[in-house]
């Protein structure tokens, strides 16, 4: 187990180095000039060059990268070009909201996805099954912006059940989590259904039934445990996805997540924030996958952790 963990973390480090290099190179290739963004339209060419020198942006790319990594190993993500604030502070300020939305969205996804998927699989071919399939397909294809605005208009503006956007209480979380959860729930329902159908055909289910296990027990204990594996892998991916920001939903609901920070930074060519958020997202994706892999053998003991 420890050896496995060590190997996985070693891989993770390599991946992070790779991602940081690629991000650096891509930003370097962007046509916009961050220095001119900082200097503004009234700056003299001398001012522009002086800022470039001070930020070290006149150095060759590999030197800029080494300087950045040098700061990184001391826990320094640099300062924002536009805001002058430390990138670590900016990201930390966005983490609570991001984590809360992540937890809310995954909860909704699981609630919707698992229940719809199990029901559809249990009543395969029925009208209910077809309805679940159509609904999940709709949920998967609906644009987040439209769903978000629709939910907001109906439940917040018209019915007044929830606040119109913002952050702070449980009531604020419901609609954004629902918007993200509906979309993910559609995927989860489809995956759960097909994986349940697969499992329900297997011999041990027949045995369980023959031994007199009730229908609910067979579905929820015997079958679901095995059918849940692909869903667990999906949760691992979702953790990474939501950690890099749900830009659209955050924007509709005024949710102060990491996605808004990244989006604004990209528009202003605020390189330190872009690189910082990318690294945090990469770490989250790696950790999410690792978590999913660690949970898998616990759910299904046939799986062993190996290099």
């Amino acid at each position: 187990m420890l050896r496995y963990l060590g190997a996985r973390l070693g891989q993770a480090l390599l991946i992070l180095v790779g991602i940081s290099m690629i991000t650096f190179a891509l930003i370097y290739l962007l046509p916009g000039d961050p220095v001119r963004q900082i200097a503004g339209r009234s700056a003299t060419p001398e001012t522009v060059e002086s800022i470039r020198r001070q930020l070290g942006l006149d150095l060759p790319l590999w030197q800029q990268y080494l300087r950045y990594v040098g700061g990184l190993v001391q826990g320094d993500l640099g300062r924002s070009y536009q805001q002058k604030t430390e990138v670590a502070t900016l990201i930390a300020s966005r983490l609570p909201a991001t984590l809360l939305l992540l937890a809310g969205a995954i909860t909704v996804e699981l609630l919707i996805g698992l229940s719809a998927g199990i029901l559809a699989a249990a009543r395969r071919g029925s009208a209910l099954d077809r309805a679940v399939m159509v609904a999940s397909f709709t949920a998967v294809s609906a644009p987040q912006f439209v769903v978000g605005i629709l939910l907001l208009y109906v439940f917040a503006v018209q019915l007044g059940w929830f606040p119109i956007g913002g952050y702070g209480s449980f009531a604020h979380l419901v609609l954004p989590a629902l918007t993200l959860g509906l979309l993910g729930g559609g995927w989860y329902a489809r995956v759960t259904r097909s994986s349940m159908i697969d499992v329900l055909r297997q011999d041990y289910i027949v045995t369980a039934r023959a031994k007199g296990a009730g229908r609910a027990r067979v579905l929820l204990v015997h079958a679901l445990r095995n059918a849940a594996l692909p869903v667990i892998a999906m949760i691992g991916l979702d953790i990474g996805l939501f950690m890099s920001g749900a830009v659209v939903v955050e924007s509709v609901f005024g949710w102060p997540g990491i996605g808004q920070l990244a989006w604004q930074a990209i528009q202003r060519i605020d390189t330190p924030i872009i690189v910082g958020v990318t690294l945090v997202a990469a770490v989250a994706i790696i950790l999410g996958n690792l978590l999913a892999d660690l949970v898998a053998p616990w759910v299904d003991p046939r799986i062993r952790l190996r290099r």
């Binding site: 916009g32 000039d33 001119r36 009234s42 002058k84 604030t85 900016l90 005024g254 808004q260």
Partner: protein, 541 residues
């Protein structure tokens, strides 16, 4: 929207403002308002902040020697009580107002004014505003890092400060009113270092009460503000990360008072045609001009006749219809709200036949092919398409290049990078309300350099000399004469036609029912979206 109506609105606003100063004392202080923005507030450091959003927020936290009378472009002393100008036009002496304190309780002195301006010019501050102080003696030495203090600034006594310029300059008082010249307390700047922008301390009407990153910024009334009766509100809450569409819904429910990003385009007509909400919208001019640049380095735009033909070819009224009438047609570089604007100037009226005959005269009867650059966010691609169609109608085939803002700016800054640019989304909005601000960087030789903002690369040395002559007219008695000279300069620019001015954007500020105050402060030419110090809460009355 006719031009007449604009004048009437402005005149009405000015009248209201006069009336307001009479009953100003009767307005009770108190109440709060909520302003929404989509983007984070980046910084509130007056040396750094240079965007739409923080510009007027900073003006409420800090003060400079000069300011503008609310709702107007008229310069008035602010931290200064009075000032004098020497006979040679080179030395300004300001007497500071008594009893001004910073939010930390320390009294303001002349030392603070000097420190604040030196700080902006010093290269390590990385201020986008350093260049504004280039007229002060000793600028080059400080800007290059060779000296720490401008030799042209002299502290006479704690309440008197003197500025010596390297040449007479009529815009100097405006420069003393821009945010970059606002007073900051040295001890707080040194205490917070680079984080001063998140911990601003000034002398302004409001002080910072709370800043929750990514969520909200809260201003509270400065109890010790030196102007009696101001600010009118106790608190202003700026909520960030708010989608404009959602902000509008919240305003209609009474949760929000001002839409910082304006009325969302998709809802504009609905609001303007709604009997319930139409009266909540205040319309006014702004110091903005949208134009098409023609690069005089790129044939056939090196031919004046071709540039004039383009001017005649563009149907400005149609372009304005595309943006739901949120602008007025432009025929000269200066916007109508800018001193020096010439209401009698005729420009190049829409006349495709005239355009064709000018092209024929230039030997291009069969037209030609070129490229039109534009920024890729709505409505700019649609505007560029309309211009493209107008050009096609006279035989000019312009290929559209819609790119991200930074890329268009980069192309414009190269000598032959972009034959034509539609300036929308990047257009010039004045730093201060003086006609010179529309010339130097965007039409003068100084801006026609790699990386500059003069995208037509028009460089007329005779006009540059005239501009310098106008800016040297510092005698207030000659102010009208100076404006007349500027009118002449812009008329000559238009005769050479390096630009085709298209429109001047109008501002439409939507306010919640709880807010009161004269219309002019809701479309203040300098404080955008509103003059935060002057707005009052009806529920506190």
């Amino acid at each position: 929207m006719s031009r007449d109506r604009l004048y009437r609105t402005t005149a009405l606003a000015a009248g209201l403002l006069l009336a307001s100063s009479v009953w100003a004392q009767e307005i009770k202080q108190g109440g709060a308002m909520t302003v929404t923005y989509k983007d984070d507030v980046s910084t509130l450091d007056p040396a750094i902040g240079y965007d739409w959003q923080n510009w007027s927020m900073i003006k409420s936290l800090f003060d400079g020697l000069m300011d503008y009378a609310p709702g107007t472009t008229d310069l008035v002393p602010d931290l200064a009580e009075s000032y004098t100008l020497s006979d040679d036009g080179l030395t300004y002496t300001f007497k500071l107002r008594d009893g001004v304190t910073f939010h930390n309780g320390r009294p303001l002195t002349a030392e603070d004014i000097a420190y604040s301006i030196n700080r902006v010019v010093r290269p390590e501050t990385q201020s986008p505003g350093a260049g504004f102080f280039g007229m002060i003696e000793g600028f080059d030495a400080v800007a290059s890092g060779a000296a720490q203090e401008l030799s042209g600034i002299r502290i006479v006594d704690p309440r008197t400060i003197e500025f010596k310029l390297s040449a007479p300059n009529a815009t100097f008082l405006h420069v003393m009113a821009i945010n970059f010249a606002h007073a900051v307390p040295r001890e707080e700047v040194e205490r917070y270092g680079q984080d001063f922008g998140k911990h601003p301390v000034g002398t302004g009407a409001f002080k910072l009460e709370e800043w929750t990153l990514g969520q909200r910024v809260v201003f509270a009334r400065n109890e010790n503000y030196y102007r009696q009766g101001l600010p009118r509100l106790d608190r202003i809450v700026f909520e960030v990360g708010q989608e404009p569409l959602v902000a509008l819904l919240r305003l209609q429910r009474g949760e929000v008072d001002i839409l910082g990003d304006g009325i969302p385009p998709a809802k504009f007509l609905e609001v303007m045609e709604s009997p319930e909400w139409r009266d909540n919208v205040v319309e006014g001019g702004q110091l903005h001009t949208g134009y098409v640049t023609m690069n005089v380095n790129v044939p056939p735009f090196d031919n004046k006749l071709v540039r004039q033909a383009v001017n005649h070819a563009i149907n400005k009224d149609r372009v304005i219809r595309i943006i739901n009438g949120r602008a007025v047609p432009a025929n000269q570089p200066l916007p109508p709200a800018m001193p020096g604007y010439d209401p009698d100037f005729e420009g190049y009226p829409y006349d495709p036949e005239k355009a064709k005959s000018l092209l024929a005269e230039a030997g291009l009867a069969d037209g030609f092919t070129t490229e039109l650059f534009a920024m890729n966010t709505d409505p700019n691609p649609r505007i560029a398409q309309a211009i493209q169609q107008d050009l096609a109608a006279v035989g000019i085939k312009a290929e559209l290049k819609t790119l991200a803002q930074a890329n268009v700016i980069a192309a414009g800054g190269e000598p032959t990078g972009a034959p034509m640019i539609w300036s929308g989304g990047m257009a010039w909005i004045a730093d201060f309300p003086d006609p010179s601000n529309f010339y130097g960087p965007i039409l003068g030789c100084a801006g026609a350099v790699p990386g500059g903002w003069n995208w037509s690369w028009y460089c007329n040395e005779a006009l540059d000399a005239k501009a310098a002559q106008a800016d040297a007219m510092v005698d207030p008695a000659k102010a009208e004469e100076r404006l007349a000279l500027w009118r002449e300069i812009y008329a000559e620019v238009m005769a050479d036609a390096p630009w085709a001015p298209v429109f001047n954007e109008q501002r439409f500020t939507m306010r919640g029912d709880r807010l009161g105050g004269p219309d002019a402060i809701f479309v203040d030419p300098v404080h955008i979206p509103v003059h935060y110090d002057e707005v009052y809460a009806k529920d506190a009355q």
